[in-house]
Assembly symmetry: C2
């Protein structure tokens, strides 16, 4: 690799973080949204496996490290401002959400101003993640 | 509308803002990522036309207000944490990006660590936005 792909990203605007969207490469479904710092971006590029930055735990987060539901990068894009990364991925285990659902976007707004749950878990998070809950 | 749909959103975590993703309802292509505060979310729900919050201009941003390239909401989803809104939209004029491209994600990482530009503008931003540049 000759160039530094992170040089086109604007980490400063987001306090050291850029937004990262994981989209299923096969179906186009948006799976989840998280953050990356420079280290997680570099690890993702190097390994082809998605690494985020966990704000709640303040550490590098290798997606699937606990559940095995890793995300294999098929292609990566950056937006015009360089503050969002789009990851087209193959989602191992089929589900990205800590609730056991394929996508984190399982609540759809209805006309009453409430949300319908439009998908069900495909695995039991208590089994996959253990009692600690989400990875 | 009986319920308040913003009650399920966590604006506090992002300093009053949530992340908003616009996805083409017909093609599944991710068009752009921006932010919403409570007011822009409420306006979007009320009008069915996407309103963001512009951080750079610190004001409500009715998408397409200048270019006419508005975004019509087909459906809205929120994620498990309530800090991201997914908007499935019909993009008027076909292009969401201020560069005149369909999507803001027109730079794809290649194996040399550089980015390939994978789409071309479908309109001339200088004509659509005038000399002020992006809306």
């Amino acid at each position: 690799m000759d160039a530094d792909p992170s040089s086109q990203l604007d980490f400063a605007k987001g306090g050291g973080l850029v937004t990262a969207i994981a989209q299923d490469d096969a179906t186009g479904e948006i799976l989840m949204v998280a953050f990356m710092n420079a280290e997680s971006f570099a690890r993702t590029v190097e390994t082809g496996e998605v690494h985020y930055w966990s704000r709640s735990r303040d550490r590098l987060w290798y997606k699937g490290e606990q559940s095995g539901n890793t995300q294999r990068v098929k292609s990566m894009y950056i937006d015009c401002d360089g503050d969002v990364v789009l990851l087209k991925v193959e989602q191992k285990g089929g589900a990205a959400c800590h609730t056991g659902r394929v996508s984190c976007f399982f609540r759809r707004l209805n006309e009453a101003g409430d949300y319908d749950v439009v998908s069900e878990p495909i695995f039991d998070p208590a089994v996959v993640y253990g009692r600690e809950g989400r990875e």
